[in-house]
Symmetry: C2
Subunit: 359 residues, 2 copies
DNA sequence: CTTTATTCTGTGTGCGAACACAGTTTGATA
DNA sequence: TATCAAACTGTGTTCGCACACAGAATAAAG
């Protein structure tokens, strides 16, 4: 690598191409009114010198303002969406000086009507871009079609709707994260072990995430022909009756003497952990998803053995960053971005959280 | 949070404090020549308005240039230090417009004299900061003492030397990563299993990293009283005679019929994987460290089951970033920064690598 | 009450890029 | 050839900040 691209200014390009700074600028932003000769001369020098604009100077000079709307569910402290919110805040701070204003809008994740209300607000006063998690599928499709009509760019986080012209998608490959969960749960299970899968009916809508994780899980079972080696017991939990859930669990343990592990594909594994504590059940493998405060607590205590994480804050932050790159810096970006499947245990959770906090 | 700190300029502060921009600037950089009255007025407004300078405008205006020297071992493609180098390159690009020039200097990691030569060069022409991995302990101490005399700030990556006035340290808690390795390797081992630990004498010096990993590993064995349940076989490999190593390994397998797993605490587990392939040994657990290209290859193939990673590129990048924050932006930073212990398997390596590539 | 030194403060310029605006060239048409 | 719009190009201002420099206010000395 030569030490080109080091501090080459428009002025330099202009000088080398034998034109003025204005002309270089016109070529850079292809806004016409440039003779073929000049354009060619400039583009040639541009390439030779490997010019890269000073983005700070650019946004300092630019008078354009951008407004990004980010739609997220409202949340309780310690919940999953808190991390997402944090990511948006970080982005807001960092991109403020690039003339970008992040406007967050909250809706009730258990009430599709609240989502519709919020999206209508957005459509009333169109922003320059929208970032959302399409929790409510049909409502999201309706909203996005409106956005497409007005050519407002949008990005998905967490989950996606295929065949839409989204700018980026950041999220986890949940099939894969279910598959790997099965691997880590079942690899060392002795013959005849019983595994309990806890499902919870979501009040609002069905979550794609948990469905795919479930699929991935059973794919592993299939791939390794474990159907007969281990017995998988599927249990349905209520979303609000915890006392009832405890009793269900008690019943399960009474009727099945060889339960070795439990797993749940939603993020509420801490509830399960609490019940196991109540029932005094030790030496069970318990696996779940996402680093809710409560989940982390039980992970550190040892009740939960394993958590899979998906960097929700990064999903939010990066979707904003990429929107900037596209709209403002005109850079190429990847459309589909799978976030790593992070495997967290008691022994590596601390460093992980601290690192995430600061970077 | 109010929407203060949003776009408040020096000009605004000056207006509110009833002084000129120049005076505000003098207060901000406390370079004297300000009356007590003015200073108080300005600091008051500064606090009230929660002023935060536009860092981009700042480094655009500033004529100061900074030179950071980064010392890293030269490397072959696919080696560990390639990632570190990549991190430095990324930082170089990103901080170029903050008037920072990253100057990399390479030394031979197996020859302490080459390190000394390079450090002498650095001392001849002192940079504004130094970032290094103190591979050669004594030589590093000598070098750093010289740096301290001239008050040149420096940071450690990868490993650290205690009791020195380093700016930051980025690296992994290797004790913990050894501990967690033991946990993942031994948790599901049946009684009487044999485990092989491969050591390789490093040509240059002893690596602290591998020593601590080893310690962490045996701490787990101790904590769980596994000394009698599993048999741990320690084998010494040569650093260059691979044919010989293969024979050693063959011998080990002949004399021990119940080997279930192998581990090595340095980053060269791919060599071991190759030998196991040659010997046709399947169904063994093989665990190693760091995402060298070759390691990843065997991980994907399934010969290696698990790799622990430590984000070497981030270590490099963040140490540069923090040096900027300290020297240029006068921000507070953390001194000790443990990088997460990333657990990678066949199933999550792809997303991990791709994500790292782009972010 | 000057003169001179000292402390203090405002103004002006430049950093690199965006963009408006004015100014110049070209080419088509009367 | 004169006219005029269209195509093209250069200049100047602006963004928020740093810093130099000149100039004003104050204090100390004559």
């Amino acid at each position: 690598m030569t030490d080109s691209n080091h501090k080459i200014r428009i002025k330099d390009i202009a000088l080398l191409a034998g034109v003025s700074e204005g002309t270089v600028d016109r070529v850079l932003h292809n806004r016409g009114d440039v003779s073929v000769k000049s354009r060619e001369a400039v583009t040639k020098v541009l390439e030779e010198m490997n010019y890269s604009p000073n983005l700070f100077a650019r946004s300092l000079a630019s008078k354009k303002n951008f407004r990004f709307v980010c739609l997220i569910p409202s949340y309780q402290p310690g919940e999953y969406w808190e991390s997402v919110d944090k990511g948006f805040n970080q982005a807001a701070q960092e991109f403020l000086h690039h003339n970008i204003i992040i406007e967050k809008k909250f809706f009730n994740q258990f009430d599709n009507q609240s989502f519709v209300t919020v999206t209508e607000e957005v459509l009333q006063d169109l922003p320059d871009a929208v970032i959302l998690s399409p929790i409510f599928r049909n409502e999201s499709i309706w909203f996005i079609e409106k956005l497409q009509e007005t050519e407002t760019p949008f990005s998905f986080i967490d989950s996606l709707i295929e065949d839409m012209t989204y700018n980026t998608y950041y999220g986890q490959n949940s099939f894969q994260s279910g598959y790997i969960a099965a691997k880590m749960l079942l690899s060392s299970m002795s013959e005849g072990s019983q595994i309990v899968i806890i499902r919870t009916k979501r009040k609002g809508s069905v979550s794609n995430q948990t469905l795919s994780r479930n699929k991935g899980f059973f794919q592993f079972v299939d791939d390794n022909k474990l159907q007969d080696k281990v017995q998988i017991i599927s249990v349905e939990f209520s979303s609000n009756d915890e006392a009832g859930n405890l009793e269900i669990l008690r019943g399960i343990f009474e009727n099945n003497q060889n339960i070795k592990a439990l797993i749940t594909f939603n993020s509420k594994v801490y509830r399960l952990a609490a019940h196991l504590d109540t029932l005094g059940k030790m030496n069970l493998r318990l696996i779940g998803y996402d680093l809710l405060d409560e989940n982390v607590k039980y992970l550190k205590m040892g009740t939960i053995n394993l958590l899979f994480a998906q960097r929700p804050d990064k999903q939010a932050y990066l979707s904003v960053r990429d929107m900037c790159r596209k709209l403002i810096f005109r850079q190429e970006i990847n459309r589909i971005n799978y976030v790593p499947i992070d495997i967290l245990m008691k022994e590596n959770i601390e460093d992980y959280l601290r690192f995430n906090e600061n970077n």
